[in-house]
Structure formats: structure tokens, C-alpha cells
Symmetry: C2
């Protein structure tokens, strides 16, 4: 931290503060033309910016995340969270959606910005700052596209991950934490279920993510009391036992958990 302060005081090694830059310091890209342009912002070294997308879904009664296998240095043959460079004309969220689309073919899923990781040294090739997004996919729609790409991809239990490249384990930990917290006070869980589901299935979502057993009666009481569920009238029969009611999430009833 002290080195950086020095670098800043030294006018030649670091750029001045952006918001203090005089008018002439920039070549406007899509703004009005400026009077003088003696100063090119490109003379400064810039980090690379990537957008990674941590996708999570419930598969085989497990919370799983999609990883891709690296085929080159660094971290050759290790698994990593999918991501890519940001294009100059797309928003961060668009880049995340693009990545999501490329890897899974799925659109319109739950997506939120998770955190930005940018330690120098996290990528040995060059300075890479990664804005990480976090997506939740419902298991049903996901079945469609199994293995499609040339690159090796796979779904892994977040509880039994292989060794991950870069600081990606830290990212998964961060995401899992966020997911668990949001589970308690938002309706985020519904993004992991198909449109219709039983209360038992919803409970299972909570149990898998929180990684603990929940009491059936208390759980149902709590969910039902919020009025966020709509009885579809339909029932789901599987196995040799009493069929379960199918519900649908009603986002209109914005009664928080």
C-alpha cells in the first residue's frame, strides 16, 4: 500500500486520478469533440477485465456448479469458473449473459453481480480483474443441453470440488455464502425450481443449500404464511404414496421471507 502511494506521487509511473483529469487529458470516444488532445489515455498500462459467471443448479439432489477444464498454462488441466474478456461496448451484465448463453444455452435466468476480484498476482499471465456474476438455473430447463461444446465442461458438487484454478475456490466460497444469506430473506430459492413444484421440493432446495435438515411442519408453516405460493390445483404423483400438491411462485405477493 505504501509503494502505491509513492507511485502516485511520482507523476511518471502512475496515472493521475481520473476524476481530476483536466479536459484535454482524454480522447473522447463518443462524447463531444474536445479542444485539445495532447494526452492519450492509452499510454497507461491497463489491467485486463474479465467477467466470470458462477452458475449453480440443483442436480441429483445436490448443489452443483458448472466448471470448464483448462487446457493450457497456467493451471493446466485444472477446473475453472467460465468467463471471458469483456467487450468494449457491452455492459458487465451483458457479458455475463453472453457467457451464460455460450455455456448453457439458457437465457432469462437469475443473475446478480457477486464481487470483483482483482489482486495483482491472481493470474500469473497479466493483471486480470474479474467481475464475477452469479447465476441460478432451474434444473428442468437445464436438462436440454447436456454436453455440447468442444471444451470440456462439467457440473460439480459445490461440496466436493476438485482443486480449482486461480482464486476460484475463494469465489465459490463467497458465492455459497451469499446464496445462503439471501435464501433467508429473499425468494431467490425459486430460481432453482421449475415453474411448478411441491413443498417438499422447495424444502429440499433449502436443505441442500443450507446443508442441514429442516423441520417439515415449521418449514411449510413459514412458507405458506408468506402467501408467496399459489396452489396450481395439480398434483404430482411419483412412487407409491400420496401425491403432493403442486405450487407456483407468486412474485406479486412481495411478502419477504
Amino acid at each position: 500500500m505504501e509503494e502505491q502511494s509513492d507511485a502516485t506521487r511520482n507523476g511518471t509511473s502512475g496515472p493521475p486520478g481520473l476524476h481530476e483529469l483536466p479536459h484535454e487529458s482524454f480522447v473522447p470516444v463518443n462524447g463531444q469533440p474536445s479542444e485539445a488532445e495532447q494526452y492519450d489515455v492509452n499510454q497507461y498500462e491497463r489491467p485486463s477485465v474479465t467477467v466470470d459467471v458462477l452458475m449453480m443448479s440443483l442436480r441429483q439432489r445436490d448443489l452443483q456448479t458448472l466448471l470448464i477444464k483448462r487446457r493450457s498454462w497456467p493451471y493446466e488441466d485444472m477446473w475453472a469458473i467460465p468467463g471471458g474478456f469483456i467487450n468494449m461496448n457491452e455492459s458487465l451484465e451483458s457479458a455475463a449473459k453472453r457467457e451464460l448463453q455460450e455455456e448453457t444455452g439458457v437465457q432469462d435466468v437469475y443473475l446478480e453481480q457477486l464481487y470483483t476480484f482483482g489482486d495483482p498476482g491472481r493470474d500469473p499471465r497479466t493483471r486480470v480483474i474479474t467481475v464475477v456474476y452469479f447465476a441460478l438455473l432451474d434444473s428442468e430447463r437445464l436438462q436440454l443441453r447436456a454436453a455440447s461444446d468442444a471444451t470440456e465442461v462439467g457440473w460439480f458438487s459445490v461440496y466436493e470440488l476438485p482443486q480449482l484454478a486461480f482464486d476460484h475456490q475463494e469465489i465459490v466460497d463467497y458465492a455459497l455464502n451469499r446464496l445462503r444469506n439471501k435464501l433467508e430473506y429473499t425468494t431467490i430459492a425459486f430460481n432453482l425450481l421449475p415453474e411448478q413444484f411441491t413443498l417438499r421440493e422447495l424444502q429440499r432446495v433449502y436443505e441442500i443449500i443450507l446443508h442441514k435438515r429442516l423441520d417439515k411442519r415449521n418449514f411449510r408453516k413459514k412458507i405458506v404464511s408468506t402467501n408467496i405460493l399459489e396452489d396450481t390445483g395439480a398434483k404430482k404423483m411419483e412412487g407409491t404414496h400420496r401425491p403432493a400438491r403442486l405450487y407456483r411462485f407468486n412474485p406479486a405477493a412481495e411478502h419477504k421471507l
Copy 2:
């Protein structure tokens, strides 16, 4: 979003995914030397990355934030959140600390990453992605450095801000939201108070941030029950009335609110 997908399919306009790049694609900066380096990552256009720091403090019984006045296009003469380019060898957090130090001379304050803003048009000069940090300063230490810099800086009530440059109003809104939420379930509020404080002062912090009156008895009951306060034995006498006990925050008692 659709344009970006096109751009991606068009091999010449966008870079390949970072994590899929073959080994030879990079000039290692501080890694092992690679066998072949026909590919220079610098050929791709890169966004600028800045780190902005939204500083908040309690001043004059008000929640205020530090802004600097812009002196050039764009948004000339408007107020903005302080920030600057990131140096290639410093972490995001180090950059935020550097900015904090430059603007206020203060160190060791509460600092957390808030969010990353990166819409393509948010700065008309060039593509700028800003990682925003959020700092809380205690009012007492802050008195020391009043007006020091050449650039015009000022503290403004978050509730009566002037028109802000760029998307900075959105950033303030986001920060205020985060602060309010964290107030309820963390001990973040103590960062806005000096080492010793009265319960009334603590209550005032909550009232100012939540922007509503709180019941004195309920507030004290709740705080005291968490055991996060330590009675210093000292009292604070001001005005012609009964003096108030001075407390100190005890971080050891990690009893969440």
C-alpha cells in the same frame, strides 16, 4: 445484449474467452517463461479501471459524504465521488486505501467493496469500469484535516446532494441501501463513532442512517442485551443535565445484532 453475441461469434471483433485461451496466447508477466508467444494480449482494446471510494461520516448530526468538484469536461463543475485509476501492481483494496489517504489523510477505517459499475456509456470519454468501495469514518478523527488539497472538496448530506457527475447518484443510493441493511445485522455503526461514546450517540447514528426515530428504551435494551458494549466507567457531561455513561465497543463479543 444481442449485438454482443454477434460480436462474440465474429472472431475478429472480440477476444476469445480468457480461461480457454491456449498457452501461447499470453506473454507471461511474472510467471514461468512460455514456449511460444505469438499472441499479444495487448492487441485487444481494454477498458480503463478505476477505484472510487464513497466515504461517509457523521457530521453535524447528519450523514455526509465526501465529494470533489470536477473542473473539466465531462460534467464540468459538478460534484463527484473521488476515485482514480488503479495501478498495475496494487490490489483493488490498496487502491481504495490510497484514495482514502489522499483525500482525508485517514488510515485504518472501515472499508468494503460496494459494487462494480461498468455500463459502456457511463463515462463519455472512454470505457471506464469502476470498482466502488465504501468507507466509514469516525467523526472525531476526521476533524483534524479540514481543507487541505488544491482541488475543491466538500462534505454533503446524503439527503441533500447536489446533482452528481456520471452515475454517481446511483452509487450513493446503492451505498445508502447497503449501509442501512448492514446496520441491522452487523456492528458496522461503531465505525462512525469515536472510541468512546454514549448510548444516546449510538442511537443517533442509527436514527440518522435509518432516517427515522427510534424508541430509547427498546434501543438500549437491544444493544445492551448483545453484550457488545463495555462500560468505560467514565461519564460524558455536557450541558446542564445528568451526565451519560461512556461505552466502548467490544468486538470480542461477536454477538451479532
